[in-house]
């Protein structure tokens, strides 16, 4: 195993219990107290609603593995979602809309990477700054209003099915497979482990850690672009606060999934389970008629508990 050479951590499989226990507990809890939770329709609903978060949480895992963070992801998603809506409305073309979203997202990701890698600004402040910028641009391009009347070709992406499976789930699975291949089966993936674990080694090997770091953040921005398409399709409009706080759900999924914030090791399957755990938590609370504010607060508590447990493990 290539990653084992860089990270002296227990095998990733030993971490299954943490996030799996959380997931099983949540499912058991809501099966007991939330009527209709265990129905096929509701569970597939949970999965479809988790797809946007999957697209953010997977690249967030890579970024956190480099001891970084991207607080701008939710705001960038808002902006790309608006770009998709505006461009597809103007051109009546879903692909051009997606292209615009991808471009803007990747541009923001590259700026994030540049600020972190080249200027050396701590990631949480650099991306807090770009959060403000993306939020501002969203307000400016939309003038604070929703963008409505987008073409059916965009809306249909969210509701269509492929071989009986909803298209968003297909997209999320393809994304997962791509990230899994990238992280565990390419050289680039090995370098990502080294970016967090041992940056000096990369330099000695004649590689440019800065360029790799920029690439990691750019991937995050580009994924926010694709997720922006799904968001626009789901809401059938572009809205200037569509992605508010989504980066926090992504960080929650990564933290619950067992990726450590301090040692450059990450686990994609854990993140995927973390995404589902966040989705189940929000859906279950929704079913027992808890307002979305309580959902937000519970996700916050979930993160703090997960990080506390992670801290216990690392100092034990």
């Amino acid at each position: 195993m290539r990653e084992a050479a860089v990270v002296s951590e227990p095998h990733p499989l030993q971490r299954i219990p943490g996030v799996a226990i959380v997931l099983v507990l949540l499912i058991a809890l809501f099966s007991a107290i939330a009527p209709g939770f265990l129905s096929v329709a509701n569970l597939s609903n949970v999965l479809v609603q988790s797809t946007i978060l999957t697209m953010l949480a997977l690249p967030m895992t890579l970024i956190i593995m480099t001891e970084g963070l991207d607080l701008s992801m939710g705001a960038v998603l808002t902006l790309t979602s608006l770009c998709v809506a505006i461009v597809s409305l103007a051109t009546q073309s879903m692909l051009l809309g997606l292209g615009a979203g991808l471009l803007v997202g990747a541009a923001f990701g590259t700026v994030n990477g540049w600020l972190v890698a080249i200027l050396g600004i701590p990631p949480f402040v650099a991306t807090l700054g770009t959060l403000g910028m993306a939020q501002g641009l969203s307000l400016i391009v939309s003038d604070g209003q929703s963008v409505v009347g987008i073409p059916h070709s965009v809306r249909d992406i969210y509701s269509a099915t492929l071989l009986g499976i909803p298209v968003p789930i297909v997209m999320a699975l393809v994304t997962y497979a791509a990230f899994h291949g990238l992280l565990y089966h390419t050289r680039f993936g090995t370098y990502i482990f080294a970016l967090g674990g041992n940056r000096e080694a990369l330099r000695y090997a004649g590689l440019s850690p800065n360029r790799l770091l920029i690439a990691v953040y750019a991937i995050g921005g580009a994924m926010a672009g694709i997720a922006g398409l799904l968001m626009t399709a789901r809401m059938n409009s572009g809205h200037p606060t569509a992605g508010l706080g989504l980066e926090f759900d992504a960080i929650a999924a990564v933290a619950v999934g067992g990726t450590s914030f301090e040692r450059g090791n990450g686990w994609l399957l854990g993140t995927l389970l973390g995404v589902i755990a966040v989705g189940v938590l929000r859906n279950g609370l929704n079913l027992i008629s808890m307002p979305s504010s309580v959902q937000v607060a519970s996700v916050g508590v979930l993160v703090i508990v997960a990080l506390f447990l992670d801290g216990l493990r690392s100092h034990a």
């Binding site: 402040v125 926090f248 914030f261 937000v296 607060a297 916050g300 993160v303």
Partner: protein, 325 residues
């Protein structure tokens, strides 16, 4: 997070004079912005507008002054804006229920302080990196506030209470007097007390601080509690100024507060900066936003400009530090 090998603690006297130079540059920048705005806009130099700038700057300063101490320890408190919202809503409810502004003010400040203390516990006892812990707290507070308010708005407070935020004394807004008081207390605390100097030492080199017998965890707890308490105080002034409380009042406060701290020359890497610098930072940011307003730039541009300012400020700080080394 892991870089504990910072440069050695600079003796406080040379630190002060270096800070004085930095503050001087920033004062010049503020004056330059004033000159530009005076040329560009007729109404900038009117008494009403200048008092308005001072009042607005003092609101940003209250939040940013506590935050300065946190940043001096190389930490960050991202929950201040959400803390202001929760504290304002709780204080507003207490005033409405009991009719006593004094009780409301106390509960609001206490609420802020308790939230800050919880942040401190997460950072010291649970050893969660401060920006993640306080970011988690941001969303917990946000959720709590929206749940507590359930879409309601509280408004209409006693006239005496409203004087705090909107009243005048000898021609100056009352928040400006509060600003001077807290600027004095903050500066004295940071520069002239042992606890203040210990906070600088922790930020400059936490390991050396611990080895030289400074109770690091207790000082950190104090710093986060102060940050929360100042957010609680700011919530009272907001409540009194707006004469209403809503769940979303804190959403646009955190980024400007962080911007004020960073423009003011406090380094994100800890150990360098002054409370007075933060005041100048709050003034500069307010002048820029006020100028945009006077030149009829849409308020939609404010987050974009604030974001760019945050990044520029950190970049400048890093450049001057590199040159100094």
């Amino acid at each position: 997070m892991t870089d504990i090998t910072k440069e050695a603690i600079v003796p406080s006297r040379s630190l002060l004079s270096q800070d004085a130079v930095q503050v001087f540059y920033r004062l010049l920048a503020a004056l330059l912005i004033c000159a530009v705005l005076a040329v560009l806009s007729d109404s900038f130099l009117s008494l009403g507008n200048i008092l308005n700038v001072l009042r607005q700057a003092s609101l940003t300063f209250f939040i940013a002054s506590g935050l300065t101490l946190v940043v001096l320890t190389a930490g960050l408190d991202l929950s201040v804006g959400a803390n202001v919202a929760l504290s304002a809503c709780i204080a507003g409810t207490v005033i409405h229920k009991t009719g006593s502004p004094a009780l409301g003010i106390l509960t609001g400040i206490a609420c802020g302080g308790i939230v800050g203390l919880l942040n401190g516990v997460m950072v010291t006892a649970l050893r969660i990196p401060s920006f993640i812990a306080t970011y988690g707290m941001l969303w917990v507070l946000n959720g709590l506030t929206y749940w507590y308010m359930a879409g309601e708005t509280l408004h209409g407070f006693p006239a005496g209470f409203r004087q705090i935020g909107s009243g005048y004394l000898f021609g100056l807004p009352i928040p400006v007097y509060l600003l001077l008081v807290f600027l004095g207390i903050g500066t004295l605390f940071a520069q002239r007390t042992i606890w203040g100097q210990e906070i600088y030492a922790i930020g400059a080199n936490p390991v050396a601080a611990r080895l030289s017998g400074i109770p690091v965890a207790r000082r950190l707890l104090l710093v986060y509690a102060v940050s929360g308490t100042m957010a609680g105080l700011a919530s009272i002034i907001f409540l009194s100024r707006l004469n209403s409380a809503e769940a979303d009042i804190g959403e646009s406060l955190t980024l400007p507060a962080i911007a004020a701290v960073l423009i003011g020359g406090t380094s994100l890497f800890g150990g360098v900066g002054t409370v007075f610098g933060t005041f100048i930072g709050a003034l500069i940011l307010t002048l820029v936003l006020n100028g945009m307003n006077l030149l009829s730039v849409s308020a939609n541009w404010q987050p974009l400009v604030t974001g760019i300012i945050v990044i520029l400020a950190v970049w400048l700080d890093m450049k001057t530090r590199r040159r100094a080394q």
